[in-house]
Amino acid sequence: MKIIYHCFGGSHSSVTAAAIHLGLLPTSRPPTAQEFMALPYFDKTPGDVYGVVRFMGKTSEGDEVYALGKKNLGGRLNQVLLGLAELMGVDDQVVVVNTMPYVNIIMMIGGFLSRRLGIIFPGRPILIWGTRLAFPGLVGLVRTIKTKMI
């Protein structure tokens, strides 16, 4: 099974959800800044990788997890990718998940400062604060996805 988490930039909420899915982050507490920054691609993505589906890792069950930044394509991307998967008869082999509903305004401000404007300080601390606040929601989302996959 392939699981694709997607958000606006493909470097914060989708990467965090993918990392939760892969067991790279603790789920009993919000991760520390160091734990977030140790993740591949977290707040490191340049602006020109929109649309690139990036491999995040493989679960112990053999599922491949990916992160994708889709700019303002919105929830439409789910239908586009699942529609194509249906046409090819592989819709039972892929899960496409929009993480944007879990992104809060603090993450948006922090991500904008850090990624778009390149102002790492205070952008990154604000972003990590927002991601810690959004973390329980993302953990719940990943749990739901994993339950549906069983």
Binding site: G51, K70, L73, G83, L87
Partner: protein, 159 residues
Amino acid sequence: MIIVLAGTTAVHHTLVAAHLYLNTITEPDFGRLEYYCDMSFDYSGYPLYIGRDINGHQVYTLGLGRLIEVGCRAIHDFKQIMAIDSSRLLVKEVRIPSELDIWAASKASRIPLGVGSIINRLISDHIIAREFPFIKMETARLHEQVASLQGDGARQMAG
């Protein structure tokens, strides 16, 4: 093979390109085309089935909005991770100079009392008629691509 013509919407120039490819229109008379300018078929985001070509290939249109490059790149990578090659699924971008104007006109279709649909239709008719030669060129390229992929497939079978 499944052929998907991707553009800013599924029901404007992509639809015309699909019908040109299928030889169901030859002149810019779009009025009789099913789904033409009907955004209710585009909002879902799912590929829209148009017909089959003489070789039995299914032809669809797909609307990606104004971020067509991002959408096409995502589809390209998606095909790779799902191990779908172009001889099974060919996604062809249909690009014309005024595609963003068509996208903007399509947004007007949300204006109530049918006014939006009229605006969408008038602007789209004007742009697509003006850029009909570009759409024809895109269709010619598609024919070449399909022929090339069919040739490759035949060579693989023979080999």
